[in-house]
């Protein structure tokens, strides 16, 4: 699909800007552009659930990243390190070569095997009574994943609370 390819190229350019730019705020905004591109890709590939979620998550993480960048930090390292850069570029190249050899072996884009998911699609509505099959899988067939997700949200929330606390020792002088 040509639309997907154009969007992917757009995302790659935005990601390159986000990595290359020396302005941190600009980098955060560019990463927002990557996320929005991803949301549109989700919409084009017939998964509106994810498009909505991605959009919302993008807003939230953008707000929080801007909060972190808002601490005006002028540190920006622009130096040339040829050895490290060339080693990592070679590593990336090797990774890409082997990965592209590997992706030739999986089914082509647009023709998934869908052995397991066809079972869900065939019987899911009848067995659970939920027209939205994604919700049916998430909340009924694989509800253990949902439990895991809720634990993640819980952990992140209480973790942020515990890291952000001011007073650490019970007695001030005891250190």
């Amino acid at each position: 699909m040509i639309q997907i390819q154009v969007l992917l190229v757009f995302m790659i350019i935005a990601a390159a800007i986000a990595i290359g730019t020396s302005d941190l705020l600009g980098a955060v905004v560019s990463i927002g552009a990557v996320g929005l591109g991803l949301a549109i890709v989700f919409l084009l590939l017939q998964s509106p659930d994810l498009a909505i979620l991605q959009l919302v998550v993008e807003i939230l993480s953008l707000v929080i990243l801007i909060r972190a960048v808002g601490i005006k930090d002028t540190v920006n390292v622009r130096e040339r390190r040829f050895i490290a850069t060339s080693i990592s570029v070679i590593l990336m190249g090797l990774f890409l070569v082997f990965a592209s050899l590997a992706i030739l072996e999986i089914p082509k884009f647009g023709n998934p095997a869908m052995k397991l998911s066809f079972l869900y699609l065939k019987d899911g509505f009848r067995q659970t009574g939920v027209p939205n099959i994604v919700s049916a899988i998430m909340l009924d067939y694989r509800s253990f994943d949902m439990l895991a997700q809720i634990v993640i949200a819980f952990t992140a929330a209480i973790g942020v609370v515990v890291i952000a606390r001011k007073k650490i020792y019970v007695n001030k002088d005891k250190k």
Partner: protein, 483 residues
């Protein structure tokens, strides 16, 4: 039955979060009571010598997620629960001086639940998710006392293991696109029906990088010394004792042996990785003067032993690897608890400043002596038997140089721990430590229990006990999972 291992800790975590703020005794009680129940239960399951399965939500395997408790899972489960119990008992006095104890115990139980779930689940994506949860809980617990070093270590740990786990996720994606199912036994069936070496080799590399980062095999070990040395001591004991094993080594060997299937090439790779880890870990540990950092490097070295034993692929080698894994989680958590006790009473971890502590702290001194001899492989203790089996398996498999390397690394470990004993616990008592006292009795209790285990675990090799404990696990690795 198997779901209790996940429900109870999560339930405890949520109750602590709701009510623990008002009374600290609720969080203390939940903190030790739930691991205690679960460790009794897990030992009972281990002795039952059966394969337990449980379909969550009542859906049969390809549709839903299945919990599978076979020999390997149950062995790991028993180890994890017992060590978590000890760390929980130890934490109660240790954590007294910090605020937000209830959140500490809530996160502790979340980590416990995630380890149990990762051990029991039979679904490859679910395995990934629970590993991720255990990771998030441990990043936060590492930076629990918000010191600069801890934040730095936690950041490094979080970034490296997230990258590794994203690699794993990419591998799962390729596997799903190829096999079109997520259940591990199903994937193994599909892969054995239509093998595809090009794709599988790439996936294996991704899995080794990802789980190897969690297990701290040498090229990917950069996070471990920082995170282990700067975390609170009970958390270090948990990280080194069980977390890198249950989330790293277990996941690696489960996926490699049971999903993808071992071949001779893969065994070579694992043996080489294990040898490099062994040698590099012990050499780096040689120059350390920080007590916990030294222990952390030894963790890398001992993980190398475990991989060497398992990578040999013979029944004796796998037995040795698993036995060393059990032993290592016992004595390494004991050593970290000792280091924590020293830090608790003196406030420093620098070996050069310590000295002569065994007179003032007899329990810490004697238990650390037992643990040191155990890790170095002195005959009556458990470390000797497992190292002996691994070396014997090397010789039996005809790889003499591997056995030689293992012996040399063992000698280096011995010398390194002689250094620890000499500088920390023997020698002259320095002037500033005249007023030292022994640590509180709960901390002593958990150290004493662990040291008794160190002495007694040689008995696990008696054939009658071995047939319950190790033989099912070895047969799972050799013959694959059956559901």
């Amino acid at each position: 039955m198997l779901t209790l291992f996940i429900i109870l800790p999560l339930c405890g975590a949520f109750i602590i979060f709701l009510a623990g703020k008002y009374s600290k005794h609720i969080s203390y009680f939940m903190g030790w009571f739930i691991p205690a129940i679960l460790s009794i239960l897990s030992i009972k399951l281990l002795l039952a010598k059966e394969v337990f399965t449980y379909n969550i939500g009542g859906w049969a395997p390809p549709l839903g997620i299945t919990l599978v408790g076979d020999g390997l899972s149950l062995l790991f489960l028993a180890v994890v629960n017992v060590v978590v119990l000890m760390a929980a008992i130890y934490s109660i006095p240790y954590i007294e001086k910090y605020t937000s104890k209830w959140i500490y115990f809530a996160l502790f139980l979340v980590m416990h639940a995630s380890m149990n779930a990762a051990l029991l689940t039979g679904d490859i994506f679910n395995l990934f998710v629970w590993i991720e949860i255990g990771g998030i809980a441990s990043y936060i617990l590492v930076s629990y006392v918000v010191e600069p070093e801890q934040l730095e270590a936690s950041f490094k740990y979080a970034v490296l293991s997230s990258v590794g786990l994203l690699m794993v996720l990419l591998g799962i994606g390729l596997l799903y696109a190829y096999a079109s199912t997520l259940n591990m036994a199903d994937i193994a069936r599909v892969l054995s029906a239509k093998p595809n070496p090009k794709l599988i080799n790439f996936i294996v590399v991704l899995f080794i990088v990802g789980f190897g980062t969690k297990a701290a095999i040498v090229p990917f070990h950069a996070w471990l010394p920082d995170a282990h040395s700067s975390a609170p001591s009970p958390i270090s004991a948990l990280l080194s004792g069980v977390l890198i094993k249950s989330l790293g080594v277990y996941a690696l060997i489960r996926v490699l042996f049971n999903v993808i299937g071992m071949n001779a090439q893969l065994k070579e790779v694992i043996i080489v990785l294990g040898c490099i880890s062994m040698v590099v870990g012990v050499l780096l540990a040689f120059y350390q003067w920080d007590f916990k950092r030294l222990l952390a490097y030894h963790s890398i070295s001992q993980i190398g032993y475990i991989l060497l034993g398992i990578g040999l692929g013979t029944p004796l080698g796998i037995l040795g690897g698993l036995f060393h894994l059990v032993n290592h989680s016992v004595f390494k958590s004991l050593l970290f608890l000792n280091a924590g006790a020293v830090e608790y009473s003196t406030g420093t971890r620098d070996l050069k400043q310590l000295g002569g502590l065994s007179g003032k702290m007899p329990i810490t001194g004697s238990t650390s002596l037992i643990a040191s001899m155990s890790i170095a492989g002195i005959p009556p203790f458990n470390g000797f038997w497992s190292k002996f089996i691994i070396i014997f398996a090397c010789i039996q498999a005809g790889k003499f140089w591997l056995g030689f390397i293992a012996v040399v690394v063992s000698l280096l470990t011995l010398s390194s721990f002689l250094k620890v004993q000499k500088y920390a616990f023997f020698g002259e008592l320095k002037e500033q430590w005249k007023e030292l006292k022994e640590v509180p009795w709960l901390m002593c209790l958990s150290m004493i229990i662990l040291s008794l285990m160190c002495i007694g675990f040689g008995l696990l090799l008696v054939p009658a006990i071995r047939s319950f404990v190790f033989d099912p696990a070895v047969s799972v690795l050799l013959n694959g999972i059956k559901i």
